[in-house]
């Protein structure tokens, strides 16, 4: 069914009883040409682009839980392409461009809102570093503006400009950054993939990847063996676990990252603000809640929940730059598992095993990458070679000394 104002009106007249399923619930076939492990945003986007851009049929996405139940429904919904290092700059800009046309393309309202993102700076040195990053972005054709304190005061008046410890001297703004309704992203991709013949198989947990003669031949699941000519792994926090089934060891650690939502309040903030020096970032959702977060808890975890010390630290960060939020009550808190790579950059690549492909290492930045990640992973699987946009995102880069260490903190995943 095509979604439009007319279909909404028509269904409204019929009491909204005619909306069909958004995607089928098929039994797994015994064999597929391509299986994507992981029905999150990246996995579904990959299947969507495999079908749409490469005209491939006979594809399945297998998901342990349900669609939208993983990190794609557990993030803070921010999109941006404000990176400095060349492989990241171009890749994330591709993602931004796909976001800009996404809703029209897959006929689903993902509420893409380009409300801008502002990184605050607090010293001359930080201003220079941000100006350098902004210039790198502009050289790559991406929008970036360095805001003076006066411009920033006009844009975000609720910030505390008299902060003695972290005086706000300005910000680097990417006007095209913003937020997206995160749940709508897997739903839209799932619907688009399903309508092109992709089987989306939920409640199907992979227990083993079968390899014969150096070639991946299928997966064992709780619903039986499913054969495949090509297998793509896109399982975010559980990347090490799934890769280990194929005997692949990775430079990845899984860490927990918390996020928070306040009670709904009247419009307070119409952009995304990041306070990197204080480990805090915030936006306001369309429902009115402040959506905010900070850094990783900082220890290996698969527990999908964080601990109080980081919670207190994030709140303190928020109070430092926006004291006016002090009496707003916190409504929800949760944790998601991040597959932290050792340089903070992802993998979209072939593995040493024929027919087995890896998508992972997204750290805490996977959501904004969803469209380009799927687009590039689909290209890599369909052509059996990477696209120029993801050619740098290999596992081998660590052995070759070609790390893409945007933060420059070295091989310590918990401080990436």
């Amino acid at each position: 069914m095509h979604y439009s104002a007319l279909s909404l009106l028509w269904q409204g007249l019929k009491g909204h009883k005619g909306w069909g399923r958004m995607w089928r619930d098929p039994e797994p076939k015994s064999e597929y040409d391509i299986i994507i492990i992981g029905g999150g945003g990246h996995g579904l986007a990959t299947a969507y682009y495999l079908a749409k851009e490469h005209g491939l049929k006979n594809i399945a996405v297998v998901e342990k839980g349900y669609i939208g139940g993983g990190n794609v429904g557990r993030n803070t919904t921010i999109i941006r392409s404000n990176y400095m290092l060349s492989p990241n700059t171009h890749f994330y800009e591709k993602s931004m461009q796909l976001w800009e046309g996404l809703e029209r393309e897959f006929n689903f309202n993902a509420m893409v809102s380009q409300r801008g993102i502002i990184n605050l700076y607090h010293s001359d040195a930080q201003r220079d570093a941000f100006a350098r990053r902004g210039n790198a972005m502009r050289l790559a054709g991406i929008d970036a503006e360095l805001l003076s304190p006066e411009e920033l005061k006009e844009r975000v008046p609720i910030l505390d400009f008299d902060n003695a410890r972290f005086p706000i001297e300005g910000g680097l703004c990417q006007p095209r950054g913003g937020t997206v309704r995160h749940d709508a992203v897997p739903w839209g991709y799932a619907r688009g993939a399903d309508s092109r013949g992709v089987d989306i198989i939920q409640n199907c947990e992979v227990t083993n990847i079968r390899i014969e003669g150096g070639r991946a031949v299928g997966i064992d699941t709780n619903r039986g063996f499913i054969g495949a000519r090509k297998i793509g792994m896109a399982v975010a926090g559980h990347t090490s676990h799934i890769a280990a089934m194929a005997g692949i060891e990775l430079p990845v650690e899984s860490h927990v990252l918390q996020a928070f939502v306040s009670e709904g309040i009247k419009p307070l903030l119409d952009t995304v603000v990041t306070f990197g020096a204080g480990h805090f970032y915030v936006s306001q959702s369309d429902k009115g809640g402040l959506v905010f977060g900070g850094d990783l808890d900082g220890y290996n975890s698969y527990a999908q929940r964080g601990n109080l010390p980081m919670m207190g630290h994030v709140m303190a960060g928020g109070m430092a730059i926006m004291p006016s939020i002090g009496r707003i009550r916190m409504l929800r808190q949760w944790g998601g598992i991040m597959d932290m790579s050792f340089d903070g950059s992802p993998f979209i690549c072939k593995t040493g095993i024929d027919g087995l492909y890896l998508n992972g290492g997204w750290c805490y930045g996977g959501f904004k990458a969803t469209p380009a990640s799927g687009w590039c992973f689909a290209h890599t699987i369909a052509r059996d070679e990477p696209h120029a946009l993801n050619a740098g995102f290999t596992i081998d880069r660590f052995k070759q000394g070609r790390m893409i260490d945007e933060k420059g903190v070295g091989p310590n995943p918990w401080i990436q």
């Binding site: 559980h238 090490s240 676990h241 060891e249 990775l250 430079p251 990845v252 650690e253 899984s254 900082g298 220890y299 290996n300 975890s301 698969y302 527990a303 601990n307 109080l308 010390p309 050792f342 660590f398 052995k399 091989p411 310590n412 918990w414």
Partner: protein, 95 residues
């Protein structure tokens, strides 16, 4: 909140400590292969379940504490000094 039993100070809150990663990797000898150094710097088992790891008691005695902790439940099984050989509990069923 993790409560970590520092062998020198007793049970203290997680906030006194700085996590320092997987304690099962150790620096290869000077003349070891590039592969050995690569694995030391970058390759981690990243287990779901029991994990032997370092916590630096940076807000206390500043000693490094070896901890066996479950990454699925955050339960701490045992702590010790860096020289201690700490065993994991018998394998528990993972969800």
């Amino acid at each position: 909140m993790h409560r970590i039993d520092c062998p020198w100070c007793g049970v203290r809150d997680e906030s006194e400590f700085q996590y320092q990663g997987d304690a099962t990797v150790s620096r290869p000898k000077f003349k070891a292969s590039e592969e050995a150094f690569f694995r030391y710097a970058y390759v981690r088992e990243n287990p779901r379940g029991w994990h032997t790891e370092w916590w630096h008691h940076v807000g206390g005695c500043r000693q490094w504490v070896k901890v066996v902790r479950n990454t699925l439940t955050h339960e701490i099984h045992v702590t010790g000094t860096p020289a201690d050989k700490l065993a994991h509990p018998r394998k528990v069923k993972s969800p």
